[in-house]
Structure formats: C-alpha cells, structure tokens
C-alpha cells in the first residue's frame, strides 16, 4: 500500500509538468501580450520592451518555462500582473474558498443521490422511482448558472435577501490573511446557494448512476443469500448492496472533480466569490501569465490528488481490491 501511494505520488510529477507546460504554451499563443494589461493602451514601444525584458517575455517559450519551473521549486510562483502580489499568496487566500465550495457541493450531491437512488432501486417502477428518476433528469439538464439564478430568485429576490447574493465570509480558522473576520454562520449563509447550485447537477447524475448499479447489485446472489439468512432489510441494503454499488459512483465522482473545478469558475463568477475560479478566469482574460500558471498548477495538483484519493477509496469499499 505504502509503495503504491509513493509510486502514484511520483507519477503526479510528469502529469503536472505536462499540464502546466501545455497551459504555458497555449497562453503564449493568445494574440497580444500582457504588456497591455500592465501599461494600459497608451505606452511607448520603449516601455513595452522594458517590461518584456523585466518579465522575461523576450526569451524563447521553452526558456521561459524552464525559468518558471526553476523559480517554482524555490517556492516562487511569480508575481501577478493583475494584483501585483506574489501568485502563491493569492492562491493561498483563494484556495480555501474553492475547496469548501467543491467539498460541500459534493456533500450536497451525495446527500441527495444516495437516498434517492436507494428509493428508486428498491421501489423500481413505482411512483417513488418515477419521481426520483424524473427529478434526476431535470437536475441533469440544469446548467450550474441557471440553478444559481433560480436560487437567487427564490432566496435573495422573493425572500428579500434571506441569503446574500454575493461575497464571502471565511470559516474561522481557514482565513489566511492577517485581518479577516471569520464566522461560522456568515460562512454558511454565503456558501449555501453556491454549493447547492454546483452540487445539484452532480446529485442528479449520481442518482441515475447509483440507481442503475443498485438495481444490478440487488439482483446478485449474495444479496439473495443475505436476505435468505434472515438479515434485516436495512443491513442488506446499506452494508451489502450500497457498498458494492458505490464503486462505479466513486469513479464517476473522481471524474466529476474536473467538471466541478470548471463549474466553480461559473458559480464563483455568478456569486462574486473570491475563489480560485474567479482568480483563474480573470487571469486568463487579462493574459496574466504568472497568475494563469499558478491557477493551472493548483488545479492540476488538486485534480491528480483527488484521483489518487478515489483510487484509494476503492480498497475501502471493496477489500478484494488491494494495492501493492
């Protein structure tokens, strides 16, 4: 197990190098350069040359990438053109926001999907099943931003600002800045709508998937055996059926993380949250190379780490799966 984890951790390095390199090249193939973002529209060619030299933009792309990597291993993620602050500092400030958003949206998805799928599978072809699957179909078809708008219409407009429509309050203890007010209640108020908006589509997807695999599992012989030996319905469903049915669901959840990172961009934009999503899109649009690289790096890292966690979860769900 330990060697497996170690090997996987080593394998992360080339993946991250590849993703950051591709982003590096792609960003530099965008027409125009960050000089405009830095100097505005009115600048002399002399100033532009000076800035390009200062940021090393006059060197070949490969050399620029190696320089970026060299600084990175020393803990220097570069300086953001947009904010003028070190990129690493900004990433640290924004990371907790997006992490909380994604974790909670996954929790929302599971909290809806597991009961809905169990009801759907156990009462197949009854009204309960039909309503669970129909609602899931509707959920799959709602884009995050429209789910967010609907929530805004209900909780901020119709209910006159019961929930705040924008901004962020950190959870106490997660705030990385010196001056920062943390509040559990304030945080909950701010994260509720974004987490539901991002989680609802995933909930629908997982419901459909989990219902299908539950249907398959409850027809297997070991479930019949469990019932035949007189086990109560509850342990049969939760311990024997659900645990086995969860394996494909966990795989899809891992794959959905990439989607959630993208969805976070949309939801954070809608709710004006200071997370990594808005950090990334602002940087991409302004061609802030350093900030984009920081965003690509943290995203790629989160992506591969979560996939590792997913693979390790398999052996918890199914002890026959062992990693050597």
């Amino acid at each position: 197990m330990r060697t497996y984890v170690l090997r996987r951790l080593i394998e992360i390095v080339p993946t991250i190098l590849m993703i950051t390199f591709v982003v590096f090249v792609m960003m530099r193939s965008i027409p125009g350069d960050p000089v405009v973002a830095l100097l505005g529209d009115a600048y002399t060619e002399e100033d532009a040359v000076k800035v390009r030299t200062e940021y090393g933009l006059d060197k070949p792309i490969l050399v620029q990438y190696v320089i970026w990597l060299g600084k990175l291993v020393q803990g220097d993620w570069g300086t953001s053109i947009l904010s003028g602050r070190p990129v690493l500092k900004d990433v640290m400030v924004r990371f907790p926001v997006t992490l909380e958003l994604i974790v909670l949206s996954m929790a929302v998805a599971l909290a809806i999907a597991i009961p809905a799928a169990i009801i759907g599978a156990l009462r197949q072809n009854t009204w309960a099943d039909y309503s669970a699957t129909s609602i899931a179909m509707i959920g799959v078809s709602i884009p995050e931003f429209f789910a967010g708008v609907l929530l805004l219409l209900i909780f901020s407009v119709a209910m006159h600002g019961t929930l705040p429509s924008s901004g962020w309050i950190y959870l106490p203890g997660t705030c990385p800045m010196l001056v920062c007010i943390g509040s559990v209640w304030g945080n909950a108020m701010h994260v509720l709508m974004p987490a539901i908006a991002l989680g609802i589509g995933r909930a629908a997807l997982l419901t459909r998937l989990l219902r299908a695999s539950m249907l398959e599992v409850i027809r297997t012989e070991y479930v019949t055996t469990a019932r035949a030996k007189g086990l109560a319905e509850r342990p049969v469903v939760l311990k024997h059926a659900l645990k086995n049915a969860l394996i494909p669901t966990v795989t899809v959840m891992g794959l959905q993380v990439g989607f959630l990172i993208g969805g976070a961009i949309v939801v954070e934009t809608l709710f004006a949250m200071p997370g990594l999503g808005t950090f990334g899109i602002d940087a991409i649009i302004a061609r802030d190379y350093q900030q984009v690289q920081g965003f690509a790096l943290i995203t790629a890292f989160a992506f591969v780490m979560i996939n590792l966690i997913v693979d390790l979860t398999y052996s918890v769900l199914d002890p026959r799966i062992r990693y050597a």
Binding site: M18, S141, E144, F145, V149, G258, I261, I265, V266, T299
Partner: protein, 307 residues
C-alpha cells in the same frame, strides 16, 4: 426526424453483431417500436423538433427585431405588446429568445458533428491498427481529457478571441468540438477493439477485403449504436457548454442574440427585474432537457440491455 434511419442502421448493426439472434421482426421495426412506446423520449423528440422549427423560422416567428433597442420601452414588464418584457436596452425578450435558439442549436449540433467527424476516424484507426499509432493518438486524446472541460474551452476561446456573427459562432463550435473529440475517439476505439476479434472480420480478411473497406463497411456500422446515443446526449452537453461560455462573456459576442449572454446581462438586474433572468435560463433548460430525454430514449431503444 433524420434519426430514424440512423437508428435502423445501428439496430441492423447490433443484430449483425449478434448473428445468432432469432427475431422474426426487423431490427429497425423493433427499435422504432421501443422508441414509440417510450413516452418521455417522444416528449424529448417533440421539444427538439419544435426548437428546430423555431430556429429555422425565427425571422417569421419573432414579433420584433431581437437587436433593435428602444429607449422608450426599457425594462417593460411582460404585457401583450411584449409577452416576456424588454431588457435594459428596450429589446423584446421573446424575440431575443426565439433568435437565441439559433446559436444554441447551431453550436450544439455543429460542434458535436465536427467532434464526431474528427474523433471517429481517430478512434477507428487507433483501435484497428493498435501499436504505436494507437499509443500516439490516445496519449493526445488523454491530454485533452486531462483538462477540466470548461477550462480548456475557456482557454481556447481566449486564443480564438470571441467575435460576433457567423465567424464568432464558428469559433465557439471549434472550441467545443476540440474538447469533445476524445470522447468519440475513446468510444469508437473501445468498440473496434471488441469487434475486430469477431469471426466475420476474420472472414473479411480471409476474403481479401482491404482495410479501409473493413473499417467503414463492417467495423463502423457495428459500433454505430453507442455513437448515436452519445451524439444525441452530446448535443445537450454542448448546448450547456455554449451557454456557459456565453455566460462568462466568451461565446458569440453581441449583437448576436445568445441565451447565455442574455442571462449574464440580465442577472445584473435580478433584484429590479427578476423575470428577465428567468426566461433565457428556462430556454436553455428546456432545450437541454429535450435532447437529454430523447437521447435517453434512444439508448433504451437501441440497447434494451442498458435499461
């Protein structure tokens, strides 16, 4: 709908693959009968068909110009003159939604077809020949898949620089198609790997049939069913991605009417004029739902084992 003969081809293919199947009814009739019995699939097909009609006849159906602003009638509440009200420039919302269907449908269908025409040959070649060709093609596909779908589409759109009109639409189609190519390549490669071991392919080889002919006349028809289902569901996903890009300001640019863009523009006035952000969102939702329902029904009809 044009999907009916396709469904037939796929069903024929499915039957060819299971050469021992003993049904007296033709597979086309069987698939059609299953599809016709599926009420939700028919609802989905109806929604999709209505949208196609709306998009084609947008000029006739829209009561007013979608881009002509009227400063005297900004933020009108829904009324007889403006059934869905007007936006901050006094443009008729109903007309904008009717015309917006064009971008959504055009991008949804075109991007999936483009991805299909590029992805399928790659998948066929990778699966059929294996070896180094397979490794090279699939590594490139994996690289694209390694990116979160929105993120790659966003970066591609910034590279292409969003513009208005037909050119702007083509750029969005290109960005979404690139993101979706690996899905088809993987799918086709998977079915080719299993089909190429079948006896009838071996028979073709023994008869001296050339590779391209085997690929297009025997292998491809037999992997059509999953391709058709993925394509229908893929249109729904592409419509969401298009709306998302527009919502982020990276889709087709104004004055071309787009649901995602309208939603974004109107959210700014959500407290004063809530209905404005509701309608474009509903339009996106209904369209996506239609294609999802139809795609689901097709899957059940073409492959009853999946149900």
């Amino acid at each position: 709908m044009s999907t009916v003969p396709d469904a037939g081809v796929a069903a024929v293919g499915a039957l060819e693959a299971q050469s021992r199947s003993t049904t007296s009814e033709s597979p086309l009739a069987l698939a059609l009968r299953r599809l016709r019995k599926n009420k939700t699939a028919l609802v989905g097909a109806a929604i999709a068909a209505i949208l196609v009609v709306v998009a084609i006849f947008a000029d006739v159906l829209a009561p007013q110009s979608p881009i002509a602003s009227d400063q005297r009638h900004t933020f009108e509440t829904p009324s007889r003159a403006y059934p869905l009200g007007t936006d901050q420039l006094g443009r008729d919302m109903l007309s904008r939604i009717v015309h917006g269907s064009r971008i959504s449908l055009a991008v949804g269908v075109a991007s999936v077809l483009l991805a299909l025409f590029v992805g399928v040959p790659f998948g066929l070649i990778a699966g059929f020949y294996g070896g180094r060709i397979d490794t090279v093609i699939m590594r490139v596909m994996d690289l694209i898949l390694a990116f979160p779908i929105y993120l790659l589409a966003i970066i591609l759109m910034v590279i292409f620089t969003p513009t208005a009109g037909l050119i702007g639409t083509i750029k969005v189609v290109g960005a979404i198609a690139i993101v979706r190519i690996p899905i088809y390549a993987r799918l086709v490669r998977g079915s080719v790997l299993s089909i190429k071991e079948k006896e009838y392919i071996e028979a073709c080889r023994a008869l001296g049939v050339r590779d391209p002919s085997i690929l297009f006349h025997h292998v491809l028809p037999n992997s059509l069913a999953p391709i058709i289902v993925t394509t229908t569901l893929g249109i729904a996903t592409s419509i969401i991605v298009e709306a998302t890009l527009s919502f982020l300001g990276l889709g087709t640019q104004p004055p071309t009417p787009s649901w995602g863009w309208d939603l974004k523009a109107n959210v700014a006035f959500i407290h004063q004029n809530p209905w404005l952000s509701l309608f474009p969102g509903l339009a996106i939702f209904v369209t996506v739902l239609g294609f999802n329902l139809f795609g689901d029904g097709l899957r059940d009809a073409l492959d009853p084992r999946m149900k």
